[in-house]
């Protein structure tokens, strides 16, 4: 039942190039994007991505890289295993 998928959530002030910068990090770590959904909520950019981690070395590494991007863009980025959301919201 081990899943290698994770949800990346990006929230913050809208600006040019958020998706480009985030996906550049993903590409660098060989992470495939399976689904992506994005909207602007009260001037706030909000994006959720479902990604495949099966070709990636470690989640810690990606987390550190995403943290760097988050700091550069002034955004909040989280990466969490997909199982968590499935367990909390699906029976």
């Amino acid at each position: 039942m081990e899943s290698n998928r994770a949800v990346i959530s990006v929230v913050g002030k809208d600006q040019v190039g958020i998706i480009a910068d985030v996906t550049a990090v993903l590409k660098e770590h060989q992470i495939n994007v399976l689904d992506i959904s994005q909207t602007i909520l009260q001037d706030f950019f909000t994006m959720m991505m479902l990604v495949d981690l099966s070709r990636t070395a470690s989640m810690q590494e990606i987390e550190a890289a995403l943290e760097q991007t988050a700091a550069n863009l002034g955004l909040t980025i989280h990466i969490q295993r997909e199982d968590l959301f499935k367990h909390m919201h699906r029976i």
Binding site: S37, H87, H89
Partner: protein, 453 residues
């Protein structure tokens, strides 16, 4: 995406803004195979078994916490009740064993180790007697060792000889840590009907009915429940119960997933999920504030017990659906010092010790983290314990007393314990004596409720 945008946001909000966390992951370790020819040989085995079993506990918890994005606040260890290892030992041996546990806890990076415990609800064996004798010193000389004593059960009644003695033990432990506000007693709890798989401190121990090792987990989330209720200010009480139930379900599901993952990685069986709402001093992470949100001006006023009973029951109903193995204490904790709402209730004169006693008959544990003046009589402390034991015994539930006489403090003072233990207003005990009852000693027989076979 088969998970909704809103659902992802809800989870993130619970963690980032509403203080959702896994309160504790507690590795239970059986120490019976550490028995040796001498007490010294036993202690060496104890240290080695604990440090090898829990070598990767904190790192594993941190890894999982990072991967799922939910904090695991505490990593802890519980062990076999130590009195079982102390038959034929001396008081000095018992103190040294506590120090061994302390060293093992420090070296594995856990904040508390529980199980310096004795089961004396029916009688006191030689090992129990040694442990009781050593308790004040063991508690005051160690930093991370938690102790508990079972003084009553529904099946056995109340061992009043033990209860009477515990009043003196608590007083002595307070005196030995007088420089530290009597902090030793924050690590000590007296139980009626203790459970063998409780992951929460100070009362965790690894019961004799448990496997060699087991991982028990306590989730928490008063803040999440509080915020969920705030979004429905006009719901009727049936709906309020349902909101709490649904929230508890989600919290528990997240906890169970992480607990199973942790157990897998540590290669130990997953034991139970403890469905307890445990407050912290973080803003809005308060059980009292949930009760106030339900509609009480201040916790402790009329209606408090009804609101608490409903909340506690709803948490269990939601949690029981979410986890395959529920155990531990599973209810709501109402510690005074660790809950800002409770502190305010006491300060405003809304919440009394008597009301707290009443509340313990419908929630999971008991009189928890209650500071009292240091000059209270031992017999009064014993009386307080006896009352709480009786509530547990008759209602067939766990009750506990963690009371902290603070040397030099008077009723109304505010005591800072620091860290997770928070601060507590000093509450006065009834000025009338209970000493004659304590002098009688003996055992209060098991109640009719115990005759169920």
């Amino acid at each position: 995406m088969n998970i909704g945008f809103n659902e992802i946001q809800e989870t993130i909000r619970m963690v980032r803004m509403e203080e959702l966390d896994i309160r504790t992951i507690t590795l239970g370790i059986n120490l019976m195979d550490c028995a040796g020819d001498t007490q010294e040989a036993m202690r060496t085995k104890v240290y080695n078994k604990i440090t090898s079993s829990a070598a990767t506990l904190t790192q594993t918890a941190e890894d999982i916490s990072q991967e799922y994005g939910i904090p695991i606040a505490n990593k802890r260890i519980s062990v076999t009740p130590c009195s079982l290892l102390l038959g034929g030992a001396t008081k000095e041996d018992a103190i040294k064993l506590a120090e061994t546990l302390d060293a093992a806890a420090r070296d594995t990076g856990v904040d508390f180790i529980g199980g310096f415990s004795a089961m004396v609800h029916k009688g006191i064996s030689s090992g129990d007697a040694i442990l009781l004798e050593a308790l004040p010193e063991a508690l005051s000389m160690t930093e991370r060792v938690c102790a508990s004593v079972s003084a009553a059960t529904t099946k056995a009644g109340i061992n009043m000889d033990a209860v009477s003695r515990l009043g003196h033990i608590i007083k002595r432990a307070a005196e030995l840590t007088a420089d530290n506000n009597g902090l030793a007693n924050a690590k000590f709890v007296v139980f009626c009907n203790p459970v063998e798989d409780n992951p929460f401190m100070a009362g965790a121990f690894h019961g004799t009915g448990e496997a060699d090792k087991v991982l028990n987990v306590g989730v928490s989330g008063p803040g999440v429940v509080l915020h969920a209720l705030k979004r429905h200010p006009d719901a009727d009480l049936g709906e309020v119960s349902d909101i709490i139930k649904r929230t508890a379900f989600k919290i528990t599901r997240a906890g169970e997933l992480m607990a199973r993952e942790a157990a897998d990685r540590l290669n130990v069986p997953f034991g139970i999920m403890d469905l307890s709402l445990a407050p912290t001093n973080a803003a809005n992470d308060s059980v009292a504030e949930i009760l106030e949100e339900i509609g009480l001006e201040r916790v402790g006023t009329h209606g408090t017990i009804a609101a608490l009973a409903m909340m506690n029951d709803a948490v269990k109903k939601g949690g029981a659906m979410a986890s395959s193995y529920v155990g531990g204490l599973s209810g709501a904790f109402i510690p005074v010092s660790e809950d800002n709402g409770m502190i305010k209730g006491v300060q405003d004169g809304a919440l009394s010790l008597d009301k707290l006693e009443g509340m313990t008959s419908v929630c999971s544990v008991g009189l928890d983290m209650i500071a009292v003046p240091g000059h209270v009589e031992a017999a009064s402390l014993s009386g307080l314990i006896a009352d709480e034991m009786a509530i547990g015994m008759i209602n067939k539930k766990t009750t506990a007393v963690r009371v902290i006489p603070v040397p030099g403090a008077n009723e109304g003072d505010m005591i800072e314990f620091g860290g997770l233990l928070g601060r507590a207003p000093v509450m006065g005990l009834n000025p009338y004596k209970s000493d004659k009852m304590m002098q009688r000693g003996g055992r209060i027989p098991a109640p009719l409720q115990s005759l169920i076979n």
